[in-house]
Amino acid sequence: MERSFAAEVKQLALGEGEILRGEGILAITKALLQSGVSYVGGYPGAPVSHLLDVMADANEALLAPMGVYFDASANEAAAAALLGASINYPMRGAVTWKSVVGTNVAADALSNLASAGVIGGALIVVGEDYGAGASVIQERTHAFALKSSLLLFDPRPELQNLARMVEEAFAMSEASNLPAVISLRIRTAHMRGTMVCRDNVRPAVGMRDRLRAPAFDYARLSHPPSTYAQEAQKFEQRLPAARRFIAQRRLNEIIPGDRPDVGIVLQGGLTPTTLRALALLGLADPYGGSRIPLLVLNVIHPLVPDEVAAFIAGKERVLVIEEGMPAFIEQELKALAYERGLGVRIHGKDLVAVQGEYVPEVVLGAIARFMGGEAEGQLAALTAHAGRARAILRAPLPKRPPAFCTGCPERPVFSALKIAQRELGETHVAADIGCHAFATLPPFNMGNTILGYGMGLASASAVAPAFERRVVSILGDGGFWHSGLTAGVANAVFNQQDSVLVILENGYTSATGQQANPSTGKNPRGQVVRMSIAETVKSLGVSWLRVVNPYRVGDTLKTIREAMTTAAGGLKVIIARAECQLERQRRVRPQIAAQLKAGVRVEAPRFGVDPDVCTGDKSCMRFNGCPSLTLGESGDPLREDPVARVDQSCVGCGLCGEVAHAAVLCPSFYEARVVHNPSPWERVIARVRGRLIGWLQAA
């Protein structure tokens, strides 16, 4: 795993009145234990991976002794289904995943769960990467809450408030029989702060206090005719109960202000941004006091009509600050104002940007427009310098997109694919989610579609029979076990698809932080598991299967060539197997340091470029893109252009040399293997060689 969470695990055990210091996601995790959860699960993805990572590390020391079950769910659907335990039994449970993509995968189970209803509190912590990170579609989780009647929290980002909302969410879930969702923005998950803890609560039902009898109640099955009754319950009992709970517990907050004519209704998560914008416009103080009245919605579904109406009634104009589309809150407020004849003008997407992340400049501009006059003057002063730097820079700065790490075993596969396409002609490449999606960026620019996690091969199904050449699909081991096994491989074999599948097996679900997956050899709880992609694929009926060491680019190239040209029909699977280099370095580095210290013989390979042999055509970089393969001065008084250089971060994987070889580029690359603490015999040999070579060099 990417990090060790030993310090965080210690904090999870803190008791009443003690102070926790850490990230937002840690406060949430601690609050789960304070709420007496019986079970926790989920699928990793930014920004909530750390919840699972911390839980995995805490399993043995903390969770298991409390009887809390930790599930490393195979995918989000499995995680959502895990919450099924709360339908019949008084068990609190929490799962986590990245939204909106993870929620899509979970949707089937979620619909069933929400229809049946829960008696134990069920909580889903979703990481909203809206606007920020990678592999996420710009959609709102809010739509799921509306269609399935889920309780949706968007808490004001402050550690104590996050923890409180977790505890309230469990209680509200039980009061309304509806599953609750807490949505965390990426900066909230990673913000550092403090909270005052409470004691952890051992669950009433769990691994140490087991259930004795099954509960059978057809009314709790999401199956007709129960579903008809359940639909009625949602709107007649459950949502009204939730509204009562929100009002009684005062989950939403009001900052009063002194302007009677205007007000702002906002998602709790946007509170700091809004307060800062107000402060910059001279309308708020640094301590959260605002001149404009604010209604801060910690719960954005359901809304409480009476509460909202009481806030907006009597005002002339109200601004809704609501991130993402469609503008559900704004629409509901407008409908409410119309129904109740409140006569207030409601602004929202007419003043704030329709789409995209609500960064300060967006909110700032909207509030300035909403308030007009002096506020607009303040904004103009703040942004007087805008655009000047761009004028001086004249051209956009070169982008720095994410890329494969130095020594990554996935990069060579794409080098080989690029060389193969140069030889055999370009073909359609169905990309997938994972680190390997970086191949869609420079210098590879490879990948024609991305259809979701594990969907690469499936997305090639109609292109394959319609394409002149064999198409290539990419799948990581994470994606394979998540859904590629069924939607991809089984589907392709069943339909006798004639195409090539490259599986990048690096042993971890790497993009989210090297979490264990079935290819790792053990699960996150540390138990040994033996699951093999090669065996699985074979058992599904794939007969053309090759396993390659990706660092041997020549061999990989030959295998790809063979797969692309063989007369054999059906699915051809190439497994490129080598350990994630980040994880490997984390393991190997301390070992090498210890060996060097102990005076043990250590070979340290690293690559280099002869600057006088390199002519600076940079072909190597167009086939490679390794961060350690960069530019240097030629040192040549007659040549101005930079040449290739391997910097000190090189881990000696050998790809640059292999690529220069396989693509027949140039003779500039060499491997320099420094042998530390050589044996006496090696020393003698080296001395003799040095003598003889020195004599020839002098000749």
């Binding site: 301590y287 720095r400 210098p443 002869d610 072909s619 007659l638 003779p667 320099a672 530390h676």
Partner: protein, 494 residues
């Protein structure tokens, strides 16, 4: 790390602070942005109102920007975060090149001067220096050096003792304290946004070095140099001298004399020293094309092994094994042979394998005696070079170029300089070089020649031709398939 230190230091100083970041995928070699806020008023104790911190920076509302790389410093400026009234920029000037800068055939590096200019215009104060170099010298890390520089600016009211306490709370405290101190001192001594001009050492001094480096052939070089300088403008002495040193090192006196005659020929065209200087420079690089003999020669030099030892930081007592990745194709091998023998072989091979010739891949351990000997013996074949097929072909191309330069010089000196510069297109090995050579020929035939004809017919100056040739060269050196775009551009009516 840097963020954690500042937050901890603020806490040591009794100030409230909050930080957040966007790691995740951005960790995989992308740039990660951290944002933190420190409330400048000491906390009033429990129960006192707590400041509400923002999770995002607002453009124009940023007091300090710390950038551990210079392009990223520029990016914060590009996004309007810095304002001239308010912002202090603490930046390391070293560069980690972005992928788009690295894959350009020629020089794709974003101009440093523009980054400096933007920093000067958009900040209240900029502290910019090579923090990587300072860190290495201090045996420390860039982050620690930048923390020291940040502390030295005094932009945030936190005393040094608080930073030092924060560092002591963490790992590798001594190393980091050393970096912190080095950063502080660098700022105390003073930094400048003006890049230090490269120390251009006088030519006579460098000439003496070349003499020494050429060993036994140093005398020949000095003779030839003195003779050359007599007839040429002093402005071109250094370049012509470097060219002669390179040519003698590559082949011999006769070869250098042959090239010198060509330089004199261009000098006599009356285009002035700039044309002569550029021509001499490009000719010398081209005439020392990297054939297998040259590569073998460079790979077996003593200085090379010394350089590798230093670069790899091999401590005394450690042994070094160097493996060279060599893969000449058939062209490069028969290219060494005398043209009379190689011509029929080449004809046959090019018919047999029109697309890409077979290659002979080998991993040679140049630090072993047998491995070294194999490469060293190849380098001894230098005597074959003047009559080789490769020489015949390279020189045919050089002559085409020279003819184009002479023709252009008769019309317009600046145009001739542009033609001279097209020589930089021809580079690389094997297939890459053949493709680029073909590109070069197309540039001369399909872009330069028609453009010059058109300008001549129009009777005006040659501004359009100059611009077209320069733009074509830029396109070709930016993108491997740039020649198509260049030809299309040239075909457009003026």
């Amino acid at each position: 790390m840097l963020t954690d230190w500042i937050v901890a230091a603020a806490e040591h100083a009794g100030l409230a602070a909050q930080a957040t970041s966007i790691p995740g995928v951005a960790q995989r070699t992308g740039a990660t942005t951290y944002y933190l806020e420190v409330h400048p008023v000491a906390s009033g104790g429990p129960g006192a109102p707590r400041p509400v911190f923002s999770l995002y920076p607002t453009p124009g509302d940023v007091d300090v920007i710390i950038a551990s790389e210079f392009l990223e410093a520029g990016r914060t400026l590009e996004l309007d975060y810095a304002s001239p009234e308010r912002t202090t920029l603490v930046a390391s000037t070293h560069r980690l090149f972005a992928i788009g800068e690295r894959t350009v055939l020629g020089d794709g590096v974003f101009p440093d001067a523009r980054l400096r200019e933007a920093a000067r215009a958009l900040t209240r104060r900029t502290v910019a220096f090579d923090a990587l170099a300072v860190a290495r010298a201090a045996g420390s890390e860039v982050n620690a050096v930048l923390l020291g520089a940040f502390a030295a600016t005094g932009a945030v009211p936190i005393p040094d003792s608080a930073y030092e306490a924060a560092i002591r709370d963490g790992v590798a405290a001594e190393r980091n304290l050393a970096g912190f101190k080095a950063g502080r001192e660098t700022v105390a001594v003073g930094t400048s946004l003006d890049p230090s001009p490269p120390a251009a050492r006088p030519w006579p001094e460098r000439r003496a070095e070349r003499v020494a480096a050429l060993g036994r052939r140093g005398g020949t070089f000095l003779d030839l140099c003195t003779a050359a300088e007599a007839g040429l403008d002093p402005a071109v002495h250094a370049t012509v001298g470097e060219a002669l040193a390179r040519l003698i090192d590559y082949q011999d006196r006769r070869y250098a004399e042959r090239c010198l005659a060509l330089v004199r020929d261009v000098a006599a065209l009356g285009g002035g020293p700039r044309l002569t200087e550029r021509f001499a420079r490009r000719l010398a690089v081209w005439a020392t094309y990297e054939d297998a003999i040259r590569v073998a020669d460079l790979k077996t030099r003593r200085a090379r092994f010394e350089r590798i030892r230093t670069e790899q930081g091999a401590p005394p007592g450690a042994t070094l094994v160097v493996t060279d990745y060599l893969k000449p194709d058939l062209d490069e091998i028969y290219g060494i042979l005398p043209a009379v023998i190689a011509r029929p072989i080449a004809r046959w091979a090019e018919r047999r394998w029109p697309e890409g010739r077979p290659t002979i891949g080998q991993h040679v351990r140049t630090t072993t005696v047998t491995g070294f000997l194999r490469v060293w013996l190849l380098a001894r074949l230098r005597v074959l070079r003047p009559r080789s097929l490769r020489a015949e072909r390279e020189w045919a191309l050089i002559e085409r170029w020279r003819a184009a330069v002479r023709a252009a010089a008769a019309l317009d000196t600046d145009l001739a300089v542009e033609i001279v510069e097209t020589a930089t297109i021809v580079r690389g090995y094997g297939e890459v070089r053949r493709r680029l050579a073909a590109t070069f020929v197309r540039l001369l035939d399909e872009i330069a020649a028609p453009a010059i004809d058109r300008d001549r017919a129009a009777g005006g100056d040659y501004a359009r031709s100059r611009a077209l040739v320069a733009e074509a060269r830029r396109l070709v050196l930016t993108d491997e398939n740039g020649i198509e775009a260049a030809v299309a551009l040239a075909a457009r009516p003026a």
